[in-house]
């Protein structure tokens, strides 16, 4: 896919809207926090949690201010919450000012993350987090 500025922004906005709807849905349905609706394919088919399983629960505890709980459920929740909070603001700023700072940042980040020095440590962190997830039995 040839990613243009508007395409990236619409994908991000759509993802954020879907994320907010999903979090709100889980907040309203209190029972589903105890027995979460399983949307994750890997967990559904193999019963093994995927690297990002539990980030919904982590974000839900973040909204209640339980930072320690959120970290012990899944640290990826912090990253997702950060992106969900700040990317709509950045996009709004860009659209109002008719600039493409976020798109430029995204492209720089992509080339930066592709460097083996950065990519391999990040991969190892994700793997460690995944092993931790499996041990916790999310």
């Amino acid at each position: 896919m040839v990613l243009s500025r508007n395409k990236l922004y619409s994908i991000l906005i759509m993802a954020c809207v879907a994320g907010y709807i999903w979090v709100c849905y889980n907040m309203v349905n209190k029972q589903s926090v105890l027995e979460p609706v399983e949307v994750c394919f890997i967990k559904y088919f193999t019963n093994i949690p995927c690297p990002s399983c539990g980030s919904t629960r982590a974000i839900l505890s973040l909204t209640k201010g339980n930072f320690n709980d959120a970290f012990s459920i899944n640290p990826i929740g912090f990253l997702v919450a950060f992106i969900m909070l700040f990317s709509p603001l950045w996009i709004l700023l860009d659209v109002v000012a008719k600039k493409n700072t976020l798109f430029a940042f995204y492209q720089n980040l992509e080339t930066y993350l592709r460097r083996p020095k950065i990519a391999i440590p990040l991969l190892i962190i994700i793997m460690i987090n995944w092993i931790w997830n499996i041990n916790k039995g999310l």
């Binding site: 896919m1 040839v2 990613l3 990236l8 994908i11 993802a15 879907a18 994320g19 999903w22 949307v39 994750c40 394919f41 890997i42 995927c50 690297p51 990002s52 399983c53 980030s55 990826i76 990253l79 997702v80 992106i83 995204y106 980040l109 992509e110 993350l113 592709r114 994700i126």
Partner: protein, 112 residues
């Protein structure tokens, strides 16, 4: 370039491109200089079928997107359990087209 060479290239590589792009590639290849043949014939193109297999098996981890070089989208898929499972299913159907577009981008560097 010679039409025979170009036709051979098109025949052996047509599955890597969208059908509507093939005619344009052919005309462009005939028009360009013969010295570029060595580079064009050795381009590493990504197989859409491989992408589809990876997408079905490991799509919810975003590995199909990482493979294509869309690192940002791959991270997006990885962090959200494959977009809550929806993006994974969408990509099962769109990853082949995305791969062909990536191949087109790659060959365009040499065509123009």
């Amino acid at each position: 370039m010679e039409a025979q060479k170009v036709d051979m290239f098109i025949m052996s590589n047509s599955k890597f491109f969208e059908s509507h792009q093939i005619n344009g590639i052919r005309e462009r290849l005939i028009a360009i200089d013969d010295s570029k043949w060595a580079m064009i014939s050795t381009i590493q193109l990504k197989d859409p079928t491989t992408s589809l297999i990876v997408s079905i098996l490991a799509g919810s981890l975003g590995i199909d997107r990482f493979m294509l070089g869309d690192t940002g989208l791959g991270i997006g898929k990885l962090l959200t359990c494959g977009g809550l499972g929806i993006w994974t299913i969408v990509d099962w159907f769109s990853i082949q087209k995305a791969t062909r577009e990536k191949n087109m981008q790659k060959i365009q560097q040499f065509l123009y």
